[in-house]
């Protein structure tokens, strides 16, 4: 029955001759961006604006015994110095999640304790950045240095120092939280009987996988400006993915009403998760309150590396059991996740490592448990992939190893083991984001096609397992993946629309375009519904005073969730347009059709402009306008198969990716070029992460490479040949059949490259990144030099 439904949808899709959707429309904000218009936070200069600077902790773990800012305050041009004594002592989380957040309230705007090298000590607002920097030098701090924890394996030890010993630290939801043991989150789920079935499995592989710190490196670092408007309300212009969460969390942290705050998100210079963090807004707001002046705080590149947020490193112990026929008997995952000094996104990232990986595989017996621990290291937060990147690293490598063990080709085996249309997984219900999940059946899946097309594009069967000699050896690897689309039953997005005299529409969105192109995609969806051109949409997104609520840009949700809110809003507008047209044309509504910006009756027609003018000026005058909200009941996974070919230099250990293929099923690609762009950006970020991005710490926990010279990210000369293949399916619950696409692409490169290295030189790498030193060491140890 279900399959029939889906087939009907597919047939319907084929019949649908989309005019706006499925076209690579030019970005609605594109002209402003290519001409360098003042659209980013740093471009808004307010007369008399002060510049803020932060004093950073030189110690990994210390208590502030005494802090004296009097000399700094005396400096001419200094307008405010804040220490923990000057800000409310209200615990909150910087994680920009729905309320109440499933992250511990363990942060203060400023505290009397510092928990990592790079933690905040004090903040200054001054007339110039130079004066602010000078003032920082004048602040005298007397520290009581405490023993730090610099290895997550030591966090849970019996006599380990307690990082969050403050009495206020707590979890706002009834979830496991034991700060006295340095545990900021815990999960423990059992489905079926994995212990027993593992023992009875024909093949069992167990291994530990170690995946590392990384930074998002948006080219625009964190920046916020706060000022008071003519009514004494605080306005915060900020580079954020979550403007509505910013408003709520700033209100909490400073104990001021939400009513007193307006948050404006202009254009954002990249986020990738790091701006899902309400990181600097409370501090900037506190400085603006203290000075009654506009204040701007912008992180330097070094501060962005050390004192913003990173990817959560995980040590994953993975054990899988498989029967001779290739079916799974059990999967057992144990995770130790390092959250750094604060618990942002701790539990939800951990959950995602399970919930975005385990349902992909047909397996009824599962153990999934993990601890998230505090350490005195840089703080982790949301990062594209959100736990799934970490999980696929382990799972992707282990499946490649398993295929070899049972003697099947990984490509052929992959087709047999994954979830398909009409099927469900017990994991969907068992594991959500911090809480229990939501049961769902898969209603669209193009994974087989992804595997088939990807294998063909990389020329798998000619390249796999080739005997080679010589210095340079080539190999191919692959992985299959899924992600989700929004957080079901939790996330909400809303839209508002009104019609203008010339048949254009204002589309007001809570959805937060952070460069992904969501403003354009929302315009295409609205235009498709209304039978008009995308160019007729005037989009304004994310201003807490002017646009409806939206949770923001995260969890691969904007197209699927907010897109549906736009679709519903546009449908309402369409009904109103038809009603007016019926009156104008003196025909019943049933007779009317809408396309090409006009309403056609059996006898006559009216243009949108005529209809708008009629409704505004002629008779029964009213504004054609509507708003709608949407929550999702499912989180349909996009699916993807990645393939890569690498060349390993056996003399130096350097790995070069020759070709990379990402085949992805994101349902209907509303804007194909944007969907490709999301995939290409995610893949190159992933390859860069797999091969060269890493945090180097000294013995005190100081990150030693906070710049692009020593923290290398891929640039044009590093590019492999990259091929993106969009595999169309139709997701019945998404707008015009769409699912998400933004995150999934980053999860592939780590396992694909590890597997390709194995194919090339016969060594398995379990610790990322695959830098030449590690590859060379592994080759020397056990390379079989095929």
């Amino acid at each position: 029955m279900f399959l029939i439904c889906v087939n009907l949808w597919l047939k319907k899709m084929e019949k649908n001759n989309f005019q706006q959707v499925g076209k690579s429309k030019i970005k609605v904000d594109g002209q402003a961006l290519v001409t360098g218009q003042p659209v980013f936070v740093g471009d808004f200069i307010i007369p008399g604006m002060l510049w803020a600077k932060v004093l950073w902790s030189p110690h990994s773990h210390a208590r502030i015994k005494n802090i004296d800012a009097s000399e700094a305050e005396k400096l001419p041009g200094v307008k405010a110095v804040l220490t923990y004594k000057d800000v409310p002592r209200i615990p909150f989380t910087t994680a920009g999640q729905g309320a109440p957040e499933p992250s511990p309230y363990d942060s203060f705007i400023l505290d009397n304790k510092v928990r990592y090298l790079g933690d905040r000590v004090a903040a200054v607002a001054a007339e110039t950045e130079e004066i602010a920097n000078e003032a920082l030098k004048q602040i005298k701090v007397d520290y009581e240095i405490l023993e730090p924890i610099l290895d997550p394996k030591n966090s849970r030890k019996k006599n380990a120092p307690v990082i969050h010993d403050e009495k206020e630290a707590h979890m706002p939801l009834p979830l496991a939280y034991e700060p006295k043991k340095n545990i900021c989150a815990h999960i423990d789920i059992k489905i079926g009987d994995a212990e027993k079935t593992l023992k009875e499995s024909d093949y069992v592989i167990e291994h530990e996988y170690d995946i590392h710190y990384a930074q998002h490196t948006p080219i625009e670092t964190h920046i916020s400006t706060a000022y008071f408007d003519v009514h004494g309300r605080m306005v915060i212009i900020t580079s954020t993915q979550v403007p509505f969460h910013v408003r709520r969390i700033v209100a909490r942290s400073l104990n001021i009403p939400v009513q007193k705050i307006r948050v404006i998100k202009p254009r954002i210079g990249g986020g990738f998760g790091v701006k899902q963090e309400v990181l600097i807004e409370p501090l900037v707001a506190a400085l603006a309150m203290k000075t009654n002046q506009a204040v701007c705080l912008k992180y330097t590149r070094s501060e962005e590396f050390i004192s913003s947020r990173c990817r959560h490193p995980q040590v994953i112990n993975l054990k899988t059991g498989v029967q001779k026929d290739g079916t799974f008997s059990a999967i057992d995952i144990g995770i130790l996740q390092n959250n750094g000094a604060y618990g942002s996104h701790s539990l939800t990232i951990l959950c995602n490592t399970g919930s975005k990986i385990l349902p992909l595989f047909k397996c009824k017996n599962i153990i999934f448990d993990g601890d998230v621990v505090y350490t005195n290291l840089p703080v982790c937060g949301a990062y594209r992939g959100y736990g799934a990147t970490e999980g696929y690293f382990a799972m992707g490598i282990q499946l490649d190893e398993m295929a070899e063990k049972i003697g099947v080709d990984i490509v052929e085996w992959s087709k047999k083991i994954h979830i398909s249309v009409g099927e469900t997984s017990p994991v969907f219900a068992a594991l959500g984001e911090g809480v229990e999940g939501v049961e769902q059946n898969i209603s669209s899946c193009g994974l087989d096609k992804c595997i088939e097309l990807g294998a063909k594009e990389i020329n798998w069967y000619q390249k796999r397992r080739k005997t080679q000699t010589g210095r340079y050896r080539r190999g191919v690897g692959m992985v299959i993946m899924m992600q989700g689309s929004s957080i079901p039953e939790i996330d909400m997005g809303a839209a508002f629309m009104k019609m203008n005299e010339d048949g254009s529409f204002n589309l007001l969105l809570g959805a937060t375009d952070l460069g992904t192109g969501s403003d354009t995609i929302m315009s295409q969806i609205a235009a498709e519904v209304l039978g008009t051109a995308t160019e007729k949409m005037l989009v304004y997104s994310s201003d807490t005073d002017l646009t409806p609520f939206d949770v923001g840009a995260y969890a691969s949700s904007t197209t699927y969730l907010s897109g549906q809110a736009v679709l519903k809003t546009a449908q309402k507008i369409k009904e109103q347009i038809k009603k007016v047209a019926a009156e104008m044309l003196k025909e019943p509504v049933e007779n009317l059709t809408v396309h090409e910006g006009k309403v056609f009756g059996k006898k006559g027609k009216a243009t949108f402009s005529e209809i708008a003018n009629y409704s505004l000026y002629t008779k029964h005058q009213h504004q054609i306008m509507a708003g709608e909200s949407h929550i999702t009941h499912k989180s349909p996974p996009p699916f993807s198969a990645h393939f890569g070919e690498v060349e390993v230099d056996t003399l130096t250990g350097k790995v070069r990716v020759i070709k990379y293929v990402a085949a992805v099923d994101c349902g209907t690609a509303i804007n194909p070029k944007s969907a490709e762009g999301q995939t290409e950006g995610a893949v190159i970020n992933g390859i860069s992460y797999a091969l060269c991005e890493r945090y180097i710490f000294n013995k005190k926990g100081k990150m030693l490479n906070p710049n692009f010279n020593y923290y290398k990210i891929f640039s044009t000369m590093d590019l492999p040949e990259l091929k993106t293949i969009l595999v169309p399916t139709y997701e019945p619950t998404g707008p015009f059949g769409a699912k998400s696409v933004s995150e999934i692409g980053i999860n592939g490169p780590c396992p694909v490259i590890a597997n390709a290295i194995y194919d090339a030189v016969g060594v398995r790498l379990y610790k990322a990144p695959f830098t030449p030193d590690k590859v060379l060491e592994a080759i020397k140890k056990n390379g079989n030099h095929r």
Binding site: S24, A32, V34, T35, G42, R267, T516, E676
Partner: protein, 158 residues
Amino acid sequence: MKIETTINNQKKELNVKNYTEPLLDVLRRHGYVGTKEGCRSGQCGACVVLVNGLPVNSCIYPAGRASGKKITTIEGIGIPNKLDKIQQSYLESGAVQCGYCTPGMILCTKSLLDKNPAPTDEEIKLALDGNLCRCTGYVKIIDAVKLAAKKLKKSSHR
């Protein structure tokens, strides 16, 4: 101190704190905010402007050295409703996501195409290697440069 320059073909006197003040800060202070700051150490290319036609990282370029020279910023390439062919190509190719690296990318593209109207893929990659982009994976940026080369060639034949 004051320096005389030509910015986007207009003579301009700039107020400069001292010889070594970064050109980036001077330009932004004088309203050329299309020039972006990404690292302040010449490692990301977001602040690229052209000085006498050559791309420089304005965050580490002493403003004093720009005295008497011709500076081109993104504002001098094209404006809304009057886009240059390179800007148009970036949009048509889907080469712009967040747009923060875009001004620097476009200026480097202009510098390349002015000298080499038909660059190979390798030449394009080399020309843009100093410009970091975290959104696009560069694929569509390279497409945009090729499209721009094609468009410019077409127009020069007319």
